[in-house]
Symmetry: D2
Amino acid sequence: MTSPLRVAVLGASGRMGRAACAAVDDADDLELVARIGSSDSLDQVADAGAQVIVDLTVPSATQGNVLWAIEHGIHAVVGTTGWDDESRGAVRSALEKNPGIGVLIAPNFAIGAVLTMRFAEIAARYYESAEIIEMHHPDKLDAPSGTAQHTAAAIARGRADAGLGPIPDATEKDPDGARGALVEGVRVHAVRQRGLLAHEVVQFGGTGEQLILRHDSFDRVSFMPGVLLGVREVASHPGLTIGLDGYMDLG
Amino acid sequence: MTSPLRVAVLGASGRMGRAACAAVDDADDLELVARIGSSDSLDQVADAGAQVIVDLTVPSATQGNVLWAIEHGIHAVVGTTGWDDESRGAVRSALEKNPGIGVLIAPNFAIGAVLTMRFAEIAARYYESAEIIEMHHPDKLDAPSGTAQHTAAAIARGRADAGLGPIPDATEKDPDGARGALVEGVRVHAVRQRGLLAHEVVQFGGTGEQLILRHDSFDRVSFMPGVLLGVREVASHPGLTIGLDGYMDLG
Amino acid sequence: MTSPLRVAVLGASGRMGRAACAAVDDADDLELVARIGSSDSLDQVADAGAQVIVDLTVPSATQGNVLWAIEHGIHAVVGTTGWDDESRGAVRSALEKNPGIGVLIAPNFAIGAVLTMRFAEIAARYYESAEIIEMHHPDKLDAPSGTAQHTAAAIARGRADAGLGPIPDATEKDPDGARGALVEGVRVHAVRQRGLLAHEVVQFGGTGEQLILRHDSFDRVSFMPGVLLGVREVASHPGLTIGLDGYMDLG
Amino acid sequence: MTSPLRVAVLGASGRMGRAACAAVDDADDLELVARIGSSDSLDQVADAGAQVIVDLTVPSATQGNVLWAIEHGIHAVVGTTGWDDESRGAVRSALEKNPGIGVLIAPNFAIGAVLTMRFAEIAARYYESAEIIEMHHPDKLDAPSGTAQHTAAAIARGRADAGLGPIPDATEKDPDGARGALVEGVRVHAVRQRGLLAHEVVQFGGTGEQLILRHDSFDRVSFMPGVLLGVREVASHPGLTIGLDGYMDLG
């Protein structure tokens, strides 16, 4: 029997961080060796002999954490937002000098959301119309969600692959903006509703038919299978991977 | 056995008009005595001995048609849009002089849409959040739909009855308008999709729960049961009735 | 300012009981004066001066608890199942001797489920087809749910009111029972799915259209507004009331 | 510019056949050269110089039609049901002697239904629970639908790939069969509702989340893009292909 993989969670006192600690703790093949809060030193991660960090911190801290991990020969699974071309470039440079190390930056750990994006890209090739409705709790500060924006981009790629033109829309009069946001040529609608957590509906339409892809996250625990998949797979995927789909069998 | 009710359809060559002619023709208790197009004289309606007209014409013609019917002692069932306070007032005045005559002006003949609006008003009393998503074919020129606007008003009445304040929404950043239109304090989203006809989804949310009312019109024939209900009931409802719900048992 | 209403929760250590204690505790106009577990004496309820009991115990205990409360001049809100004609009759007899006392027996405290049942009864009058899909977590022992059975009965009443005959169904070959259960003439389907709690979908169909009523309980807290509504209203509804809808404004 | 592809429709007087004739007729790159009814001779197909037949006949005729086409060097696109291992074997033998000819036997021409089946197989690897709800008009004679059965088989394959065991279900008491049919280890529910045509919902559940795939065929025209895709591609796919997905880019 192999030893459990040694995991440190950074951002351990946030809501996602606490859920990740519990999930790692519950997994027989993983060992939680460090819970790092914002006031803790990264030295604790090294001292604890962690093989993988899970970064669920804040945009201002995540790049530094990941570069530190690479330099210390530790793989990184990152759920924090705020990455851009420049910060990803810095990670790629660091990884070139540490070729055995894997880093996964995943904008969304919900496996169902990843499947929805992938299926949306494929289905988009076959339908004249496509729209997205994302639904979240009313305490969310921004609209539309990042997942909806990524899904719009996936649909745009699928339509481009198939040589499809603009989505048909004869609207002439919409004084109050009921048609929602236009993201990559795709209409995106954001619903805010008490009792919901994070939900996405992608609708495709053709003459006489409709295809719907829908993903519902009712609870933050729904992100944990994706986090654990990342933790287990990161060592066998050296280099930088963007998106959990890079570790999934979607063929 | 009673004689069939004698019905004239005005606007008989439009899509709704043709469907109405077919529906009246198929009903054993009704007799289609005149199909009136835009170039036909209303005298044909009187000559044919019609007891009820179904007006499915255009905003510029409907008021004149209805006033003519009242003066000739003929009941009227009206699906044409474009009525305002002034034109409704003119009908009320005419009806005072012809007290036995009934006029029904129905913005929506889909019984399911009427039920949805009524249920929405009741449910609105009990939920913190409420939003509307209307979905139509991509050739529709305006957004949001009239039905969605009426439903938003019904929700606003229900919330006012229950003393509820504004719907919670923490959105601070929505650069592209993903949150949709605000109608009577209720967010309304309009989807345009090939293969759809006319659909409305009303979502209510409270802590830990959701209530959804959804109506789908797949085909214009779905409006015909409402038209026939109006035709059969108009004579027993003298005066002006706004909305098919005035003839329905919703208690 | 009036004093808070004094409430005792029976079955306080079960999942629903704990949620009810928390909800009463959080309400400014209510005071939780006793948490009674299965080994506690009802004397504590009297000693604490409770004005209302919330009974969330077990079928074998609930009737005795309610009769005890009536005799002690305490109102009762009951969510426990297992009531039949005989036990309800015993409660009615006891209430005749204590005419000021109110008892509410509610098979379902989710306001949305109550609304769904009421709306289903009304809508059933207007549609040729009606079916029910209930969805629950996979640990549920029985199918279909009690709520689905009550909803089927409500649909049957609505159809009878409207003089509708049997629901059309040409199925000749269904070797594995895909058409589900027939309850009061209405097909009921039970889905069992990890991640769900308690959900009900009622579908009505007519030529060219569909009406859907859907209620989702994502979390047991969704039952608490109904429990609190019952607690606040029971004193003003003397006698036995079956169903939370008796306290709601559904007209 | 290339000449249009010459197409004969067999079973041209049925509902699907008429729709196929209209669709071929409307396509600029196709020419409808023969409409063959049940009393017409296949010689007309040869005389008209057809390059592809579309067989939308009946189980008793389809095998003979396809073998005739192969022998005459004509490709075949087949939507008729009733094929089994033996009849497919006969087609394979005939194709060995005519290696340039393509035959497509497609149980479902709705591209959305094909996508749903493919996506279901992939998603099934990642979820503990999976169930299918198929919904059709109430004049359908059999339940569950063939598409639902194929989807259940696809889910079973996906679960086997991932090493998943039986779907969890604690049901002990289901006297009326509300849990539906068990097909390849997957529960399948069949709804029959006036106003619907052909609809399939596939639900996947895991802790705290849900993924839904839904396909709606509102009108038989929704099958035509799939028929035309088959007609256009069959010549470049020699041999026997089962299922429209063999011609689609689903990677």
